[in-house]
Amino acid sequence: MRSKMIEYSDFEIYIHIPFCVRKCGYCDFLSFPAGQDVQTRYMEALKREIRLTGEMLRRQAKTVFSVFIGGGTPSVPEEGQIAGIMQELHEQFSILPDAEITIEANPGTVDLSKLRSFRSAGINRISIGCQSMHDSELVRMGRIHDRAAFLESYELARKAGFDNINLDLISALPGQSLQSWRETLHAAAALEPEHISAYSLILEEGTPFFEQRDTLQLPDEDTEREMYEETAEILSQYGFQQYELSNYAKPGRVCRHNLGYWTGVPYLGMGLGAASYWPAEPAGADREEQEKTWMVRFRKTADLKSYLHLLSEDETAQIPEESDSYELLGKTGCMAEFMILGLRLTDGVSRKEFRRRFQNDLQDIYGGILQKYAAAGLLHNGEDRVFLTRRGRSLANVVMMEFL
């Protein structure tokens, strides 16, 4: 670790499992197919990283209120592997009894026995990559499953005892019509999952979709916007409330883990390429110096070979960080992130919370921007809270970039 990490309690943990069956057309996450042997060695290295991190924070109570196992497809490794990781986490950290523990899974990579093993390892929430209810769209995306396979996995998850399920959906897909998106929403919502994440497709550089961008028949901007706006409407008919730009939940079922990201809670990321966000070691005694070093963000190496070096006999093997990923955030930077991330939430940011964290009045820092976009109808500039209007949510970037 770059510097010794300072102690901090009440945080969340992200675990990255980079394996998948096959890369999808739109996917820019750090994931790839790999053989059993590599997967097993990776899991061993990951356990070692968890242990090393735990030992570093040994002396303090470390209460973890959320764990998220993401990927890749964490349901790809053989049964028992994830349980091993969970066991190591419990040994190194004090995970609260009512912590939210989520795993991502893709249809076609789970059976009942594997799902049950997740449950018995303490995992209480599952996020299933449904993406679309139309087979033609699934094929175009390069998904490994069809609608039927998804429905089967969903039923199995319920059967295995998951009472908190998220479905991932993607709008603005190539060839997708407003009507087909509506159908996907209705079909997904009718299954009564607890949570739905509905993302608009973004063509990320380096993905197959990006390479084909000139020939992809993408919906035009107005259709895309209609898809976005109808999502909230349709899902609300099924009792889902929008609580973030792309996230909808039944009452009391918001994703605590992601809420943590959006409200600036520290997190430890472990595994290949995983990012962490942690209080920075204060740089000095005087206030000006301290204000330059509030938080630090860093990433583990994205190179599998370097990562697996953790397994070597060398007792001094360090957790390999990405050398250029170390980002020190001062107070100003933290305030900006607080706004950018906080405004993603339907409730927006609380003036009181802002004052509590930064000892500054929101009005004094960002009054001008708030006024400007309130006047443009993109922002509600309330006495207690500041949040994006319905139109503002479609144009979030326009507002957010102002805080940088």
């Binding site: 993401g70 973004i202 990201y261 950018i340 479609s394 970037n397 102002e402 940088l404």
Partner: protein, 604 residues
Amino acid sequence: MSTIDQSRIRNFCIIAHIDHGKSTLADRIIEKTGLLTSREMQSQVLDNMELERERGITIKAQAVRTVYWAQDGQEYILNLIDTPGHVDFNYEVSRSLAACDGAILVVDATQGVEAQTLGNVYLALDHDLEVYPVINKIDLPSADPERVKNEIEEIIGIEAEEAPEISAKTGENVEAVLEEIVNKIPAPAGDASAPLKALIFDSVYDAYKGVIISVRVMEGSVRRGTRIRMMATGAVEEVVEVGYFGAGQFIPCDELEAGMVGYITASIKEVAATRVGDTVTDDERPCEEALPGYKKVTPMVYCGLYPEDSAKYPELRDALEKLQLNDASLFFEPETSAALGFGFRCGCLGLLHLDIIQQRLEREYALDLVTTSPSVIYKVHRTNGTVEDLTNPSNLPDPSEIEFMEEPIVKADLMVTTEFVGSVMQLCEERRGEYLGMDYLDQTRAELHYHLPLNEIIYDFFDALKSRSRGYASLDYEVVGYQRSELVKLDILVNKETVDALSFIVFADSAYARGRKMCEKLKEEIPRQLFDVPIQAAVGSKIIARETVKALRKDVLAKCYGGDITRKKKLLEKQKEGKKRMRQVGSVEIPKDAFMNVLKLDEN
């Protein structure tokens, strides 16, 4: 101290059409005279500005002194005075020519005589210079020196039979050119004991030496300590140093005498003091009259130059002052635009000149600029009988106060291969040209003569000409006077507000088409805003065209996980950077390039 025998000096220039090989021949001459070793040679020694090299043209007049041992066993000093090769720089060419005693005309053996060849030759002949042709590029397979010689004799009317046939590229027969210079170009005359009389043909600013003036001494002499006076500007300074031009360096000497070419420094800080074409004399013993030909250059094209960041206004002023020092044809004065804030109205010789100025400001002075539509100088005859020059369309008086207006007219000579005569004539008709006549130069080429309004050719005429003649046509022109014309001011309204920087004067019958085109172009240039933005073109209060930029509907980054934040932030930052390149006009953000881009009429 030994003075140099005038009979051993040759002051000459090389004139040519663009790309006929002038700079290459200059390089070769410097090489052959042994001033520099081959290793020291840069490819184009005279063009020492980065920009010049990139464009492959010579912008500024400069000089170089070389020493040549001729076949007669004598040592000769050759002062090669370089001249710019573009029609925009005619005045500078004329001052450089005035500093010479003869000219070498380079003609491409594959291309033959072109419009600008003629322009330059006539300019040289006007200065009573003898012109000696050289046929270049004989190494090319398509070279036809005999045909080109005939052309020179028939079209230009100068003796070409004995013209050396050379390849400046390979160096073949370049000695013949040197011998020609020594044997044919007259040695300078002029009384070294007469009062000092020297012609300024260039001046550059140096941070250490101040202004460095390039002169040709016509009479008398100048040395360190001489109190010199610039006769037109009246500036008086004591000479600090005199010297010669090495290739790319200054070589101090004791004295410059009649017939010599060299430089003078005199701690001159006053930027406007040393104008090209002015006469330098001895303040204590002045000559009776200045050399003829000086004129305060009058710019032909005006446009607004604004700093992208309004805080950089003082830097832009300093930079323009420094550029003006090297460029007597650049004029500027402060102006204010409602849309763009504080800036300058700049006068220059033409669009190429403007383009060069803009690029030099951006490169050498690291300034980001917004340029407004170029305008020619119109004469506005008011109903009260007064006449005024209009350089900024925004200053056009109310139509009720205008009796009539006049616009500058050029006489244009267009040289074109016969197969393109039709399409070039059509272009000239479209641009309101008045056909004057046509001469067949030979069986394949003709020269068309037109009167054209200057405002029809300053934007994109040259590009259009090239595209309609597959690059074969060439153009030379000069302003011949003013002509009454039906002109109107076309205003562009963005979100119902007139953007003064986009107003321009246009021929009344063309207003509708131009207005529509401008609106269409602007619609492409202006990104979607948070609201619908109407773009309108208007003449007076009458709207003649309209487009709408639809409001931005969706701009949101859907995904955002923990590790994503850094990247999403970068995307937002990039987006914000893009916004900085916009100019806020009223409530609308307009990209700075739009002001210039909308003026380019597409050729198709």
